[in-house]
């Protein structure tokens, strides 16, 4: 039997530590989720919140960002919903490959690839006035 926690934060980075803490505590309620996966999820959520804040700054919105954390029998799902006007993740340039010398100049734009790698599944949904990013970490089966 699962549960859901919802947070609404101002679009400010100084609230991210609180979000990560709640995500960490909620994810630890899933008995089979290893600590390292919880760390992955905390970072992925932080990146999603950073994107949300960036988007809202660009759109001039001071509305709250909503973060919901659901712990179910088979997965932990975190959804970050912003009012940043929406963006197309396909429009974001891929980071250069490892052997590309320009890689070292690529100091921004690592957020999306990180989210995609850290979570088992990432889904972007366009809302009326922004984007909902759903991050899913699957629970290993109990042994």
């Amino acid at each position: 039997v699962g549960g859901t926690v919802a947070l609404e934060i101002p679009p400010r980075a100084d609230w991210f530590a609180l979000v990560r803490r709640v995500v960490g505590v909620a994810a630890s309620l899933a008995p089979t989720l290893p600590d390292r996966r919880i760390d992955d999820l905390r970072l992925a959520v932080s990146e999603a919140c950073a994107n949300a804040v960036d988007g809202q700054r660009a759109a001039g919105s001071t509305q709250r960002i909503r973060v919901t954390i659901s712990v179910d029998d088979d997965a932990v799902v975190v959804t970050v919903t912003d009012h940043g006007g929406g963006f197309d993740p396909g429009d974001v340039d891929p980071i250069p490959s490892v052997d590309d010398p320009t890689r070292l100049r690529h100091e921004r734009g690592l957020g999306l690839p990180l989210m995609r790698d850290l979570a088992d599944r990432v889904r972007f949904t366009r809302t009326d006035d922004g984007t909902a990013v759903e991050l899913v970490v699957m629970l290993p089966p109990a042994t």
Binding site: A13, D14, F16, A17, R20, R36, D39, D40, R42, L43, S46, E47, A50, V53, I95, S97, V98, D99, R103, L104, R105, H106, E107, R108, G109, L110, G111, P113, L114, D117, L118
Partner: protein, 116 residues
């Protein structure tokens, strides 16, 4: 404490120890410390990330920037961490290919004496 840094000089290298969580709120402080050390000290920098619980993409950007600046000054940057999350981040970003993580500061220094 959200982010704490200390540094020391060892064998011609500046060793920067980072403790805490590196995210958008703390990354300006990390960027400032790294810039200051590379400007005022040796262009050879060891960044000890063994006590870093979280390192976001902005923090990785600072580390990439440090590598670029140190190389421009004919120096180098080495990284230390045994944390799975940091190891994973280095793998994802490709930093690992250029800068394998040392298990300890001594390790990082030892590789230096061996000439690479």
């Amino acid at each position: 404490v959200d982010l704490l840094t200390t540094h020391e000089e060892r064998d011609g290298w500046t060793v920067l120890h980072v403790h805490g969580e590196v995210d958008l709120t703390t990354v300006p402080r990390l960027r400032g410390v790294v810039s200051e050390l590379l400007r005022d000290g040796s262009p050879n920098l060891i960044v000890d990330l063994d006590d870093v619980g979280l390192l976001d993409s902005a923090g990785l950007g600072v580390l990439l920037g440090a590598v670029r600046r140190a190389r421009a000054a004919q120096g180098d940057v080495r990284f230390v961490s045994t944390r799975p999350l940091v190891q994973r981040l280095f793998a994802i970003t490709g930093l690992y290919e250029i800068h394998p993580l040392a298990a300890s500061v001594d390790d990082a220094l030892g590789r230096g004496r061996a000439g690479g």
